[in-house]
Amino acid sequence: MTTSSPALGTTGTPEGQPAAERRAAPPAAEHGKASQLARGQANWAVKSFLLVLCLVWMVPLIGLLVTSFRDPDDANTTGWWTVFADPFGSWTTENYSTVVQGTMGPAFLNSFVLTIPATIIPILIAAFAAYAFTFMRFRGRDFLFILIVGLLVVPNQVALVPLLQIYADAGLVGTFFSVWLAHTGFGMPLAIFILRGYMQTLPRSIIESASVDGAGHFTTFWRLIVPMSIPALAAFAIFQFLWVWNDLLVAKLFLGSGENEPVTIALQSLLGTQGQGWQLITAGAFITMSVPLLVFITLQRFFVRGLTAGSVKG
């Protein structure tokens, strides 16, 4: 996840149909007949354009992957595409063991240590707030929410200079704690926004009947709203995970290089010292990318649903 807060629209729709069902259906299904401009009508020009584009998109990635398995001498003296002339030539996984034994191994661990708390902690806090914004009436509610909407487009940079100073004074620079806290704060507006948008689509009748049965807000939240909001919680979790894992700026400022550095910093240092050779840089890059790619590919459906449900309704 490379952008910060996607400027999502509201997910609210007025009808009270069960949200879970609606989410599961592709957007087109809501209009009865799926609109298909011209399925299967691509001519050769369209096909070849898309084929070329897909190739252009994949080739840099393939080059990276191929190089990371090449012999150091080969990797630095010949182009990676030459392997296709001799596909059974000398392949090696040594580059991976070299970088893992170097900085990449510890950095990989650090990235998990950094990312998992920074992903999980904001969810609960944001869910409580989103519940209040959706189902409770209180003074300043509209103002506070408008503020959150405005903050969606504000870059983290506005907070970094003073935070760095505060952390330095408190001796927190270089600690995971400082980054967990910062990402929790930075992720809050988007989290509240996504969750409220989703909660608004939940049928109000359920909440009302729960309150008739004597359930307080706290119980309703835990027993009903949280379980029903799992798709939105998951969508945000994926956003936040990718965003924190892939972040370089906040990590460089608050963690810095050294024993606590995450993979993004380790990769940047590898690249800075090009004497290491491309076979190591590419192996390091692939290690850096492996986890987000895995998350992305396995959870793509959740992620896409979160993205589209967020803005298509606009």
């Binding site: 996840m1 490379t2 952008t3 910060s4 400027a7 999502l8 629209g9 957007p27 087109a28 209009h31 007949k33 609109s35 401009l37 399925r39 299967g40 898309l50 998109w57 994949m58 080739v59 840099p60 990635l61 990276l64 990676w80 595409w81 240590v113 998992i116 708390p117 999980i120 609960l124 409580f128 707030a129 914004f133 409770m136 209180f138 509610r141 405005g150 504000v154 870059p155 940079q157 506005v158 907070a159 970094l160 200079v161 003073p162 760095l164 995971f176 507006p189 509240i192 807000h217 706290f218 370089l248 460089k252 690249l271 990318m289 793509q300 896409v304 993205l307 803005s311 298509v312 606009g314």
Partner: protein
């Protein structure tokens, strides 16, 4: 090992601590007499989140504004000196110009490319459509550092005569030309444009996914009606489809725009702003990190914020309109 335990502890303490906090506050609120309970409870629910936003965004933002009028260690006020210094330097004006080029080129290109792919892939068979879209979408998972690394390899250049291992130069040399040091040539902003391609590569899939979903939710009847009236496909697209997906186009544009305004990683990793490729995201980082100049760094952020305010106003207005319709 200790780190893993610490991380697990952090999750347990963070989540558990928050749960206990909410539970205790909620319990306390429930003890309050009748009306007060309903008055106080919402603030128990929103309180911690609002506090975090205040502590990590609003309060630092105000400090940043103050720092932007102070010297490098933030010990003394210097008035507008940071701003006049920055705007007076030609290097910084180049930085602003580069950022402006990024803003003009990248979001528009991403939206158009995303739209083109969404429309064209729609015409493929179901399986090829899925495959094509997955390929275009994939780079979105890759960090900008990773993306910059991947493309640095494509743009790699070696002196004439030696074997080129960068793809682009291999092609150039195969065609009989001398290799080109791509990222060092700023004629016609060539190097900046090449760096923009990296950003476009990572973002086009995002645009495509959102726009594709929007196109697919355009009701078939409206298209049929246009076709019966004798509209060509191009006319149908621009007069019927585009107006119906316009809200999504704007959403995508704004999201990419914000990402581009603060872009840092790509340029920092690929050139560190050298060869006239600097942008304000990188300049900000170098001021705060390398030069330790809080004044300049803060002034740069404030300029960025001023540029973002119109987007913010649009965002809030758009949201209010949507809420009114809901």
């Amino acid at each position: 090992m200790i780190k893993i335990i610490n991380a697990l502890l952090a999750v347990v303490a963070g989540v558990g601590g928050a749960m206990v906090l909410y539970f205790v506050l909620n319990y306390a609120a429930e003890r309050l007499p009748g009306r007060w309970e309903h008055r106080v409870k919402p603030y128990v629910f929103v309180g911690p989140a609002v506090l975090l936003i205040g502590l990590f965004l609003l309060y630092p933002a105000i400090r940043t504004l103050i720092f932007s009028f102070a010297n490098r260690q933030s010990t003394e006020f210097v008035g507008f000196e940071n701003y006049t210094d920055l705007l007076g330097s030609s290097a910084f004006r180049t930085t602003l110009l580069n950022t402006l080029l990024w803003i003009i080129i990248v979001p528009a290109f991403v939206v158009v490319l995303g739209l083109v792919v969404a429309v064209l892939a729609d015409r493929l068979g179901e399986r090829s459509e899925k495959a094509a879209k997955s390929i275009i979408f994939l780079p979105m998972a890759i960090s900008l550092v990773g993306a910059a690394t991947i493309w640095s390899f494509v743009y790699n250049s070696r002196p004439a005569g030696s074997t080129q291992i960068g793809l682009l130069n291999a092609i150039v040399v195969a065609l009989g030309f001398d290799p080109i040091a791509w990222l060092q040539i700023d004629d016609g902003k060539l190097n900046s444009l090449l760096l923009m391609i990296i950003m476009i590569w990572t973002q086009a899939g995002f645009a495509m996914v959102l726009l594709s979903a929007a196109i697919k939710s355009v009701p078939e009847e409206t298209l049929e009606a246009a076709r019966i009236d004798g509209a060509t496909e191009v006319q149908t697209f621009f007069r019927i489809v585009v107006p119906q997906i316009w809200a999504t186009v704007i959403t995508v544009f704004i999201t990419v725009l914000i990402g581009v305004m603060k872009v840092f990683d790509i340029i920092y990793v690929a050139t560190n702003g050298n060869f006239n490729t600097n942008v304000i995201g990188v300049e900000f980082f170098n001021q705060i990190f390398t030069n330790r100049n809080n004044g300049y760094a803060s002034a740069i952020v404030i300029m960025l914020m001023i540029a973002i305010i119109p987007v913010m106003v649009y965002q809030v207005r758009h949201f209010k309109k949507q809420e009114a319709n809901a």
